[in-house]
């Protein structure tokens, strides 16, 4: 029995379902996700926590798409070097995407995995949805 139990612990939990947080297009085509709390997560995570995560993601994407001096300079430089600069340098957007990936990883490790959830980086879905995987909770007394 104990052996079986430990074996189960070693395995990754089974995926129960997936929730998809869609994009929020009310402000145009800028990358922004809906902060509306999905029903499936109601018993799995705090509403506040979820909204905070999504809001942070939205802010990061807004930073990536910001039309500022940085992006302008980058464009000029690329033009002048006949775009060969892209071979050497990482674009501003890519830099922020790395930041986002790190943030999601950190959120997963600290908050979501202990709750039996997993966030998937939306870039893998073409920035269309934030996929939240809900894992099966086999512990006694769970929903």
């Amino acid at each position: 029995m104990a052996e079986t139990h430990s074996l189960q612990d070693l395995r990754q939990a089974a995926v129960a379902s997936k929730v998809f947080v869609q994009r929020d297009y009310t402000s145009g085509t800028i990358c922004k996700f809906q902060t509306k709390f999905p029903a499936e997560l109601e018993s799995r995570i705090d509403k506040q926590q979820f909204e905070e995560t999504i809001q942070t993601l939205n802010n990061l994407y807004a930073e990536a798409e910001k039309l500022g001096g940085r992006s302008y300079l980058e464009g000029c430089l690329a033009c002048l070097t006949a775009y060969t600069i892209f071979l050497c340098m990482e674009t501003h957007y890519e830099k922020v995407l790395k930041k986002i990936a790190k943030y999601i990883q950190e959120q997963n490790e600290k908050i979501y995995a202990p709750l039996g959830l997993l966030l998937t980086d939306p870039i893998e879905r073409g920035l269309r949805v934030v996929e939240i995987t809900i894992f099966e909770d086999r512990s006694i007394g769970s929903r």
Binding site: R23, K36, L118, I123, E124, G126, R138
Partner: protein, 766 residues
Amino acid sequence: MPSGSMSGGLSGPTSPPHTTVPSKPLRPSRYVPVSAATAFLVGATTLFFCFTCPWLSEQFSIAVPIYNGIMFLFVLANFCMATFMDPGIFPRAEEDEDKEDDFRAPLYKTVEIRGIQVRMKWCSTCRFYRPPRCSHCSVCDNCVEDFDHHCPWVNNCIGRRNYRYFFLFLLSLTAHIMGVFGFGLLYILYHTQQLDRVHSAVTMAVMCVSGLFFIPVVGLTGFHVVLVARGRTTNEQVTGKFRGGVNPFTNGCLRNVSHVLCSSQAPRYLGRKRKAQTVSVQPPFLRPQLTEAQLAAKVLDNGIQGDLHRSKSSLMESQSADAEPPPPPPPKPELRYPGLSRGPAGHSEESSLLNKAPPTPTMFKYRPTYSGPGKNHTALTHAYANQMSRRDSLKESSLLQSSQQPGYRSEPSLDGHEGGGVEQSGPERTSGGPGGPPGSGITGYSLGGRSYPSFSDPTVLAGGASRSSSVRSSHNAPPSEATTSTSYKSLANQTPPPAPRNGSLSYDSLLTPSESPDFESAVPEMSPGRPRSPVVGYSSPYLSAQIAQQREAELHQPCASSTALLASPQHAGYLRGSTSSPPAPPERERERLLHDSQPPHHHHHHHHHHHHHHRPPRFSRPPLLSDSGPSQSSYPYRTRSTDTPLPPTTHPPRSPHPPPLGKSLSYSSAAAAEMQYRLVRKASASVGGGGIQAPKDEIQMKSYSRTNGQPKPSSTPSSPSNPVSVSTRPGQAYSSAGSSQSPAHKPGGGVKKVTGVGGTTYEISV
């Protein structure tokens, strides 16, 4: 390494996303324009540098070739970036993402962008609702973000990521052409006495080429300057989306220009390194503290319905909040009759639907799930069940299959009103039967599906598969966001459609004409092959919405007149002018017409089920039946009997008010008449007279003949009346479940069994 940004977009298979993408066949014709453009650009400029520039640099200044050299380099760099850069291709959605929007989900989702309703269309190829400004390129077979156009000169789509380079390419090319032409002219002016020299000849040739290309390039450049200033894409401009309306994507001229030129390079979606998931998720899991309210809610709610509702609503913006039944299990090929399992749910929904007010126009209201069979739906199902049970199921499925040919047919006649589409979904839902052709307007056929477990999936699926491919191709036709509001995306999907939907194909198509909204949308999508101007994006939705609403209202009629409802919408399309029930034209006559009509319509539609390319997805178009035009009304017949797809129709379906029952009866007889055609074709048995009112048929014929130049058939008595009663049973039967039995149960002497198209056997009283 950002070098990946240079990849992709090249002619030929693009780098596949992490979801598999079928490799595209090599099409050499694709490379002709880009090769020619490259050849002219590089060739002419090289000649210019070799023959004209040396003298110019000596005569004037070394700056001349340097300037031209830099300009040429700039042109080449932008040309390469525009050619080879991934325009912003969306990777295909993974399967589990699709499950959220099940097969009953609408074809369109509306989203509000800065106060303006924008439709997001379901892409059957990519399996997601296309984000605003995204379009599916048929050449590249990809959904592209901020799709501008597919440029043959660079053999690549122009989208969010490479629009800047394309725009700069145009600007720089204009300047380059002007420079080459100008300096060439200068050379010639100084060498008027030495024009016989090779250098002069070459310079003149280069001038000719550059002068020739100057006009179209300048035109295109000017066009794009205007587009950039207005914040529009070529796609939006050409389809007239914002004609007379407000563009929700514009931020003002200056901001638009800076967005194009100065924004950071958008990221690639395809070909990204997928990070391995390092976080391990293992139970036991923590649980958040539940508040009192949450606990109370949990107690009251069994957690299933509520969760589904909430998740659906949370996922959909501006979706109607109508109560929805629990979504059926995702369609699987082996799952034949989901509708059956949802029977009880359907009933409950039906009653709820009856009590509810008609939903808002479909354009603005999209039900994530088919809210359930409307009363019609249920009644129809019953009627069909009763009626069909006596029939050969195989024949039924074959009938369905054949009936699937016409694109319109697949239109979910009842569920035309996607948005509010509760009722419409009804028939769809009930059909629950065979998987049915994906993408074909199955909804209409749902009726048949449910009650006929015997429907063979393979036949239906086969029929549907072919259609779905055509559907998809039509989907990817020149972008024209049609005004279709009510179509189920499942219909658009190529993958095996939900079983219920397919089942009802044959009967629903007969009885329930396509939805007008679908009709409208179908119009633009229908004709990749038709030279039609794109449908205005935003005005028609309203119209279609109105029509859809009308239809919904019609469909919401009380049960007793369900027949009328069923009949009227369809027959509105079918039988344009027929109000009486004249004797049906002779079977032979009709048959002749049918056959005759086929060849002329070859160019419109193929006889085979499979070729519906030029037709918009069935589901998206309202069943042609609903089309008010006489020609259109005849189509359903024609299509059905001849198994040819209905020609695309551009007329917005006009859904008249539900006719009185008598009328509906006549309408249904028209439907029966169509069935009759099939019967005649398939069965040798002569059908007794009566039944189908000749005028209707004649009218159909008329439009038929008008369309295909056939002489108007003389009306002859035919057996239609009986078949009519029989065929119309599905519609009528719904209202009176039991009454439909009677025709079938006529005494043996007076009943003839006829096999209709698709193998359905009908008992016709002779």
